[in-house]
């Protein structure tokens, strides 16, 4: 068991209670209610239709694919898909909100309660999901181009978002880290969100409160808006929790408020621009109708759901006898699991797992590459593993071959042939070789025989050296044992 994350002050221990509202951008070609593209990084205001800019008389028409993506994600979160959901208007004025309202879902979201299982060092923990709803993204306000004005880019305006609201079940920055990564992994498996935090496709509002250890009642929470990296989330939580504990320890009260995380100063502060009391005046959008889905529709989507990380993990453990730790690493990322499954199609599972999580990950790490960019293809790695397994080369030689393969995804069979790296396993030849080693080192033989058994390793090393590393170490061992008796 790892230690609980607690904040200690004046001998008292505080527990931190965290809930997340994750905003995940739906992977789709066009926006939620308009036919503009969703591509990231285009010139400002070049992906804006009359609907996105809220021109008079423009009306929303919903993108079916976004609905399916939300349902898929809901299924991935083991959640209830609601047969009837309603699009509401959330009314507020802001520079990057052209309609003066955001179309969202309030009382009747498309997805209801579900859960996500986290694999923590201390074991697994289930985090409750409150709901998932679809909504429009806002545009972007840019404050640092023009010294006098704020500039508004509406490219993002109207892009579909899934807001995934967790229950206040998270208890530490580390759990938040694992939770976000798990959500991202599930959505990537499903192809519903690319999870790219740098591009803002995954961001979160973080609700933080603290309470004395052992208390049942939640403390007053503060919402930290729009944090766009896991590191910042963790920093923000740490700062915010400590701020709250300080207030409580000084006998103060926490105000329920929205705060902003200042990444430069590493602190949260109250959002002054939204000082006015929030009153979003939600009501059903009269330009749209309720979204009604029958069971058959949802069932058909279920059929498209691929094997998800949790199921895959169980399968890897049961079928391949992998440790939960190994399985976890291999399923955490869909591309890794794809690579692994491609390798084991023709190769030994255990060896494959070791090579991928060992040598291959080290190589990728060193070159700063994703598995999809791996310089060694699954096919060639599989061949290498087979060469080890059938004794053609030793594990040690394999490492050399592996290094050579990395340069242009070369075929290991050819490398072994070309460089003559095939393992020497013929006992007669090896016997000759070992006899030579023994003859050349008579003094050591005597020492060995007089009880210095540690020298056995010396003979193995000599034999390997003489063979140029190609001798099959197992057979060398056997012969040496006989000869030195």
């Amino acid at each position: 068991m790892t230690k609980d994350y607690l904040i200690e002050r004046n001998g008292k221990k505080y527990e931190v209670v965290i809930g997340l509202e994750v905003h995940a951008q739906v992977l789709s070609e066009s926006k939620l209610f308009s036919t503009s593209p969703t591509k990231f990084g285009s010139e400002p205001n070049t992906q804006v239709s009359l609907v996105d800019a809220a021109f008079p008389g423009m009306l929303p028409v919903i993108n079916e694919f976004c609905i399916k993506q939300a349902i898929k994600t809901g299924i991935g979160l083991n959640a209830k898909i609601n047969n009837k959901s309603i699009f509401d208007r959330k009314n507020y004025f802001y520079a990057d909100l052209p309609q003066g309202y955001q179309i969202s879902q309030y009382k009747d979201p498309i997805v209801g309660e579900g859960n996500v299982v986290l694999d923590l060092v201390s074991g697994s923990k289930t985090i409750g999901i409150e709901r998932l709803h679809l909504e429009q993204d806002a545009g972007k306000s840019i404050h640092d181009i023009d010294p006098k004005n704020t500039l508004v880019d509406l490219n993002r305006s109207g892009v579909a978002l899934m807001e995934i609201v967790s229950k206040p079940d998270l208890r530490s920055p580390e759990e938040v880290n694992v939770y976000i990564k798990k959500l991202r992994s599930i959505m990537r498996y499903l192809g519903t969100c690319d999870g790219n935090m740098q591009e803002g496709s995954l961001r979160a509002d973080v609700n933080v409160s603290v309470r004395k250890q052992g208390e049942d009642k939640y403390g007053t929470r503060c919402e930290i808006k729009n944090v766009n990296s896991i590191k910042f989330m963790q920093m923000a939580i740490e700062h915010e929790a400590n701020r709250q504990v300080d207030i409580l320890e000084e006998g103060g009260k926490i105000d329920q408020e929205t705060r902003l995380f200042d990444t430069k100063k590493n602190e949260t502060r109250s959002m002054r621009s939204k000082e006015d009391a929030h009153d979003y005046r939600y009501f059903p959008d009269p330009d749209l109708l309720p979204l009604e889905l029958n069971d058959e529709y949802v069932e058909n989507i279920k059929k498209e759901i691929p094997e998800l990380p949790d199921q895959k993990k169980s399968r890897f453990i049961e079928k391949f006898n992998l440790s939960p730790y190994e399985a976890n690493i291999l399923v955490s990322d869909q591309d890794i699991s794809k690579y692994f499954e491609a390798v084991i199609e023709n190769s030994d599972v255990k060896l494959s797992s070791n090579w991928i999580t060992g040598e291959l990950f080290a190589l990728l790490n060193e070159k700063n590459l994703e598995i999809t960019e791996s310089p060694i293809s699954a096919k060639n790695l599989s061949k290498l593993i087979n060469l080890i397994k059938d004794g053609t080369i030793s594990g040690k030689i394999a490492k050399t071959v592996f290094e050579m393969m990395a340069d242009g995804d070369k075929n290991p069979i050819e490398i072994v042939k070309e460089k003559g790296l095939k393992q020497q396993s013929d006992p007669k030849e090896l016997e000759k070789l070992i006899e030579k080693v023994i003859n050349d080192n008579q003094d050591k033989v005597r020492e060995y025989k007089s009880g210095k058994e540690k020298l056995f390793g010396f003979f193995v090393g000599q034999a390997m050296k003489v063979s140029g590393g190609k001798a099959n170490p197992q057979i060398v061992n056997e012969i040496l044992k006989k000869k030195l008796k």
Partner: protein, 95 residues
């Protein structure tokens, strides 16, 4: 239920419409007479009635995920009160 001046000012803030004192007072009078008349709805018992929000006799139509809009930046910005060619412009916002 009567609407006082403070409420009128709060609603005007929410609506982002500034009001001077005189207009606020006039609105207070108007809104009170309108809501007094609206209150007659309270004669009706509606506990078990399902609210009706859409009258359209159709189902929500779903669109295919296709890009049909082109870059119309010039068109989008043409009517904007500011003359910036790339952006909409608003007074500096401090977050």
């Amino acid at each position: 239920m009567s609407i006082d001046l403070k409420t009128v000012k709060h609603i005007s803030k929410l609506s982002r419409i500034s009001l001077d004192e005189q207009k606020a007072k006039k609105l207070e009078t108007d809104l009170n007479s309108i809501f007094k008349w609206i209150e007659q709805l309270n004669e009706l018992k509606t506990e078990n009635i399902e609210p009706l929000s859409s009258i359209a006799e159709t189902k929500l139509r779903l669109r295919k995920d296709e890009i049909k809009s082109k870059n119309i930046r010039e068109e989008i910005l043409k009517n904007s009160p500011d003359e910036n060619k790339d952006f909409f412009v608003v007074p500096k916002v401090v977050e």
